[in-house]
Amino acid sequence: MSILTVSNLTKQFGGLVAVNSVDMTVEKGSITAVIGPNGAGKTTFFNLITGVYQPDNGNVQLGSSSLVGLKPHEISRHGIARTFQNIRLFSNITVLENVMVGLHKQLKAGIVGTLFQTKRVREEEQLAKEEAYHWLEYVGLAKHLNEDAQNLSYGAQRRLEIARALATKPKLLLLDEPAAGMNPRETRELTEFIHRMREDLDVTIVLIEHDMKLVMEISEQIFVLDHGEKIAEGKPAEIRNNVKVIEAYLGKSAVTPA
């Protein structure tokens, strides 16, 4: 069963066609990778799905509902969460609060309730703290809860981004270059973690990644973008041997692994 269906998706910036009639189907519960050279339109593709940009043409369908025309916060409410290529944390607030922002849409407190600190609001706030803490535990950042997010190490910041995304209880999780800046050992752990997330949380994962080792190991389906167009899709083995992909992206080293 597919969870995300993208059809004929197109986006232009000025004269430049960043994404050109891309079709894509993501199976529920799968791990899918989007690869391609820099400037191929991968991140733009994510931005179109999450509503940061509006497509010029085409459709994005999550389950049974179309996401076209929705604002990012509405799309988040439909159950899509993401991380960012260049980390986008709330730098000057604490780690725990960062995750609590992820719980935003689950909290019911309004102006009046907040002003009078009703029992319900107080309880809800306490629960939110606990749940946020739980997500920190899940990604292994619990002991940093009171630090400012900007003071975390690079790897920890990436994890915090994931924790924050998970707190929104997504059905679909988009990871934009999660392994960027990680050494092989960290990357290995990340691979494991992505698998575990899928098992634990029943979430579908789409990721953009340059680390071919990670991509080949983890993904069930790979889409290759180049100059905004989808040039190939298939299982890792198929992609590895696709001539077009080797020319445009992988180079000869992919065929002869080190």
Binding site: G36, P37, N38, G181, H210, Y249, G251
Partner: protein, 235 residues
């Protein structure tokens, strides 16, 4: 004699002790690579050399002269070119202007022209894009521009910070080929890379950094075969 020598460098970012007594040396004509995970202090080391960050203690000896307290724009005039992480080309200047920036201290127009031709030999694609704004180019082209810009100053020492970052494998290969070529023609290169395997393959020597300290040093091929390096950075 080594062209560059770092002796017991300690550098701080605000309260953070980023480099804890780093000592490295680079011989003339070598490629030396610094590898290590993110936040290990690789970029900080390069910035300390080029003068963007001042070390608290320790000395940076370049061609026999201590340049550790020298501001970046002076260091840049003495033959050290630094290609920063993330390329950092000037997005709203044209390719030509970007290249001219690289030869900022050169007054002679003819010399600039000559050097530009030399850069085009390495990066023919830049010639086709002379009037294009830097920011509109693809990642690989930007990397080439950044390296070309650095070459415009005719450096004797080239500092490269993560040239392969975020590039397609096929482009990374090209870039590494060019780095090799440059070296073969006599350029001394200090290379910082995430992509440890490829870096060590072309490097004469390498240093492994971990949380601001050098934990291992050796010949490139030695490090490639070293068990713990393999475990941590290559596997």
């Amino acid at each position: 004699m080594s062209i560059l020598q770092l002796n017991d460098i300690n550098t701080y970012y605000g309260g953070i002790h980023a480099l804890k007594g780093i000592s490295i040396s680079v011989e003339k004509g070598e490629i030396v690579t610094l590898i290590g995970s993110n936040g290990a202090g690789k970029s900080t080391t390069l910035k300390t050399i080029s003068g963007q960050v001042l070390p608290k203690t320790g000395s940076v000896i370049y061609e026999g002269k201590d340049i550790s307290k020298q501001p970046a724009h002076i260091t840049a005039q003495t033959g050290i070119a630094h290609v920063p992480e993330g390329r950092r080309i000037f997005p709203r200047l044209t390719v030509k202007e970007n290249l001219e920036m690289g030869a900022f201290i050169v007054k002679d127009k003819k010399v600039i022209k000559e050097r530009m031709e030399q850069v085009f030999d390495y990066f023919p694609r830049l010639r086709e894009r002379l009037t294009q704004k830097g920011g509109t180019m693809s990642g690989g082209e930007q990397q080439m521009l950044a390296m070309g810009r650095a070459l415009m100053s005719k450096p004797r020492l080239l500092l490269l910070d993560e040239p392969s970052m975020g590039l397609a494998p096929v482009i990374v290969e090209q870039i590494f080929d060019i780095i090799s070529d440059l070296n073969k023609e006599g350029m001394t290169i200090l290379l910082v890379e995430q992509n440890a395997f490829q870096a060590l393959q072309i490097a004469n020597r390498g240093y492994v950094l971990q949380t601001g300290e050098i934990v291992m040093a050796g010949q490139g091929n030695e490090l490639i075969t070293n068990e713990s390096v393999r475990e941590a950075y290559l596997a």
